[in-house]
């Protein structure tokens, strides 16, 4: 079996080892584990009635016929909901997303927007009742083209009462959800003085997450009358807080439970289904269940923000990059969830890559359209920004006639350096200054070149008449949590038998975070993996955590676990020292046992656990600690992506023959799980580069609404994906770790665009690079030549 070499491996015994995922076998055997596996049998079935129009006002809803149907429990409309503007975005408090949405509203703003709620004894009846609702709409003219949204006479959010939580540039009357601008140095002056300039534009499309488990939730009132919601979510605490606001309930009356989640990628970092089951349970007193169909997931959850990224670069003839100007227009769809932050990340997690420029500027708007709302999605703006930036850098290499690899190496960030951008740009707020303590990009590039067989003299070659192979590359960075905003906590309690209960708020959405957090605890406590029983994400029973997003879990929640384990270790030693009447310095804890330095006393952890709970009289006590962590910085993981494509000049079809991703994620807590995060991310990025695309009719009806019309990569679609992790150690991270969840997705669109450029001489500007676009570009270039 192939394994990446691990510099720090000898110093760890549990961490940096490929432990099996703690829930792996159980999930494969199909043990009831996901939300919809656990629904109480007497639950009402909830169906949402969705708008058939891209923009409309509901004039009336007649539920008479629907309510006559036997088995129908209730029909709820906007008139039954508190008129409280909310955001569905699961983010910190206050949210950087505008509160521009109501659980149900008089207006519907895209095809698929929720118009009414129906609940019935069984699913078929609920569906029937939904079809019997008579809704009269006043159909309004929609805005579908995001380049014409700003200052359009059509206003998507004319309603009063909606607001931003702090200044984000929210101007709904201009269809602007958020706006931002920053500049370091004088970009115009620097560009004007640069002998070599490039000016590029890239359009990145809306992409669907397609987590295999569709969104699902159920709710019930517990014995104390509290509202419990079991849901497939990435952020239980944000969900509770947002629901409390939406339903005007005190947070103490709500409990959120996250069972196993069948994939997230950002799709479940929002409240999409929870408000509706909650409404039904509150109205009827009955348990209520919802499970979206795949079509509903496409039509009514979120997509990636579509963006237009304009880049201007200025450089000296020797390849010294002098200025970067990045201007972005982002489409947030009907509501502004994650509008500001994804847009800012397009700059904040890409521009520091080239930290030696004299001037850098970033700015633009995020606009509303009558399309499915955009939200959080792995890569979170960085993939969009990077596609623009890394395409422009490659263009500059062509213009200078230098190696694209060497151009990057000359200008990119290195260990021990910083970037002004870190300090200026945060996620919705100011950033945090940060020195880069671990950056092995040089090594990632060196190894990546080796694995792909990079040769600057031979970036394209013919394999058959009309068929060429070509190479392309791109580099990327991400973050590890949001500094000073994200917080995670962990509680550890010694149990009789000498094992530990580890309770974390961190939300395992399939990434394996339960496993790696248990590994960190086991490492620090000097016990085996089996001695750690992990339980995660239940607002009643585990400590707080912001949730699984922003590549935060390993770094933020992992640090909390490490702190808790270290505290537990100290507490164990202190307690034993007290029992023995010696000083803690005289107690050694090793191999699951305590002894005095002089060897006169010895006690196993197992025996101690019984003593402290059963035998120690008035000194009996539960040995328990809770610790929290919030990062002062967000150390970026890095990746160098190299691709070999095959391009058929007759058909325009592009295939990935081989994709190499070499990453610096710090110490991989679990090398297998870290590697698979990156392999999966690469494939999701390849899908975005080549064919995944959210498509609409000219009336705003979604054309890509199932897995036939929206294809994701199958196992036959890509040649090979090769991932390696380089030796790296992040001093600020738990056991040297950074994040691994998002970095994988960032490079494919840019690397593939660059390979197509090398293959054809043409720069494609509109993702995805489908055969028709590739062919048209080739033809246009031939025509021009």
């Amino acid at each position: 079996m192939h394994e990446a070499p691990m510099r720090n491996a000898p110093t760890f015994s549990v961490v940096a080892h490929p432990h099996k995922k703690v829930d792996g076998e159980g999930l494969m055997l199909g043990r009831p584990a996901y939300t919809d596996d656990l629904v109480p049998s007497n639950a009402l079935h909830v169906k949402l009635v969705r708008s058939p129009h891209a923009f409309a006002r509901i004039k009336s809803i007649d539920a008479t016929e629907a309510l006559k149907l036997p088995g129908v429990a209730c029909v709820l409309t906007w008139k039954d909901c508190p008129r409280i503007p909310i955001t569905r975005a699961g983010q910190g408090n206050p949210e950087p997303s505008p509160h521009d949405r109501f659980i149900l509203d008089e207006y519907v703003r895209y095809v698929g927007d929720e118009a009414a709620v129906v609940a019935a004894e069984d699913e078929a009846t609920a569906e029937k009742a939904a079809s019997l609702l008579k809704i009269e709409y006043e159909v309004l003219e929609p805005i579908l083209d995001f380049e014409h949204a700003k200052d359009n006479p059509i206003i998507i959010h004319p309603e009063e009462g909606i607001h931003e939580m702090f200044p984000i540039g929210f101007e709904p009357k201009r269809n602007i959800a958020a706006a931002y601008h920053m500049e370091v140095g004088d970009v115009e002056q620097e560009l004007a003085a640069s002998p070599v300039r490039v000016d590029t534009v890239v359009y990145t499309q809306a992409q669907n997450h397609v987590a295999m488990e569709p969104h699902a939730a159920f709710s019930y009132l517990d014995v104390q009358g509290r509202l419990t919601i079991v849901t497939s979510t990435q952020n239980p605490w944000h969900t509770r807080r947002l629901l409390g606001l939406a339903l005007q309930m005190p947070l103490r009356s709500i409990r959120i439970v996250k069972p196993r989640v069948g994939g997230g990628f950002g799709a479940k970092q929002h409240i999409h289904v929870e408000p509706y089951v909650a409404l039904v349970t509150l109205k009827t007193g009955r348990p209520a269940r919802i499970a979206l169909t795949r079509r509903e997931v496409f039509e009514s959850t979120f997509t990636r923000h579509q963006m237009r990224v304009n880049i201007r670069l200025g450089a000296d003839p020797d390849g010294t990059l002098r200025a970067i100007d990045m201007q972005v227009l982002s489409n947030t769809g009907a509501y502004g969830e994650h509008a500001l932050t994804t847009f800012m990340v397009a700059g904040s997690k890409t521009l520091p890559l080239y930290n030696k420029v004299k001037a850098v500027r970033f700015g633009g708007d995020v606009v509303y359209t009558n399309k499915v709302s955009a939200g959080a999605f792995r890569g979170y703006g960085a993939i969009q920004g990077l596609t623009g930036l890394e395409s422009a850098i490659d263009e500059l290499a062509h213009k200078l006639g230098v190696s694209p690899v060497e151009l990057r190496r000359k200008n990119m960030i290195h260990e021990g350096e910083t970037s002004e951008v870190f300090r200026i740009m945060g996620e919705g707020t100011e950033g945090v200054a940060m020195n880069i303590e671990s950056c092995k990009l040089e090594e990632c590039i060196r190894r990546g070149k080796e694995l792909i067989g990079w040769n600057d003299e031979r970036l394209v070659w013919e394999v058959a008449p009309g068929r060429v192979h070509a190479l392309g590359m791109a580099i990327a960075m991400q973050g590890s949590g949001i500094p000073m905003i994200d917080m995670g906590s962990a509680r550890i309690e010694l149990q009789d038998g000498g094992f530990f209960k580890l309770h974390v708020g961190a939300t395992d959405i399939g990434t394996g975070s339960d496993t790696i957090l248990a590994q960190i605890a086991a490492e620090e406590l000097g016990v085996d993996m089996e001695d750690i029983i992990i339980h995660s994400s239940d607002t009643d029973h585990t400590p707080f955590d912001v949730g699984a997003y922003a590549s935060s879990t390993t770094y933020v929640s992992g640090s909390a676990v490490l702190k808790a384990a270290a505290s537990m270790r100290r507490k164990l030693i202190d307690t034993v020292a007290m029992l023995w009447n010696v000083s803690p310095e005289d107690v050694i804890y090793e191999d699951k046992a305590f002894r005095t330095v002089d060897g006169s006393r010895h006690l196993t952890l197992h025996d101690f656990s019984y003593d402290t709970l059963y035998h120690n009289g008035v000194r009996m006590q539960t040995i328990e600690v809770t610790e929290s962590f919030s990062g002062e910085k967000s150390p970026p993981p890095y990746l160098a992506g190299f691709v070999e494509i095959e391009l058929d000049k007759e058909t325009g079809k592009v295939d990935v023959v081989k994709y190499v991703g070499v990453a610096d994620v710090g110490t991989p807590i679990n090398p297998n799980l870290a590697k698979i995060q990156i392999e999966g991310g690469l494939l999701q990025g390849i899908g975005m580069a080549l064919y995944e695309d959210v498509r609409y009719s000219d009336k705003g009806h979604l054309l890509s609404h199932n897995l036939m019309t929206y294809a994701i990569p199958s196992r036959e679609d890509v040649g090979s994906i090769v991932v390696e992790l380089v030796d790296s150690y992040e001093p600020s991270g738990p056991c040297g770790a950074k994040s691994a969840g998002e970095i994988g997705i960032d490079t494919p669109p840019a690397a593939i665009a660059n390979a197509i450029r090398n293959a054809t001489g043409v720069r494609l500007t509109h993702l995805p690079f489908t055969p028709d676009k590739v062919l048209a570009a080739i033809k246009a270039a031939e025509g021009a030549a």
Binding site: L29, G30, E123, G510, I676
Partner: protein, 151 residues
């Protein structure tokens, strides 16, 4: 109406409507190991074996299963555990939602194909989508699993 289906070796009589899909009938009968991911026969998470051959239970009317043998992952638990071991060792299990349908298809493939090539494996499993893993690790696991039997 009532259908009688042998599920994992046990005869079960189930109340259904004529238009019900097998996936819903199975899940309603407590076989929640059969997952539901797309409703259009494209993702493979609802895979079960009908008389030993993989089918998509979301696109198969429950009434057509009358008198047949249906096997879910629970019906081949022993073999699934063996395969799970290989998969877990590669870290090839992420959210796990695709896992029961995927593993069942792998087990059916192993019974059906002798010494399949990489291409044959990918083709056989093409209908089993996974959004998490990027497939590479799954294939490392499959190769090890198939080879283990030859060793």
């Amino acid at each position: 109406m009532i259908v009688t289906i042998t599920i994992n070796g046990k005869k079960e009589s189930l109340q259904i409507e004529p238009g019900d899909m097998l996936v819903d009938t199975l899940r309603n009968a407590g076989h929640v190991e059969v997952k539901k991911g797309c409703d259009t026969g494209n993702c493979g998470v609802c895979t079960v074996l009908l008389d030993g051959k993989p089918i998509r239970s979301c696109s198969f009317l429950a009434v057509r299963a009358e008198g047949h043998e249906i096997t879910t992952i629970q019906g081949v638990a022993e073999e699934a555990r063996r395969f799970a071991d290989f998969l877990n060792r590669e870290g090839a299990d992420q959210c796990g939602f695709c896992a029961p349908g995927f593993a069942l298809t792998v087990i059916a493939m192993k019974r059906e194909l002798k010494n399949p090539t990489e291409e044959e494996i990918r083709h056989y499993l093409a209908g089993n989508l996974c959004r998490c893993t990027g497939y590479e690790s799954q294939h490392r696991a499959i190769r090890n699993y198939l080879e283990a039997d030859h060793a």
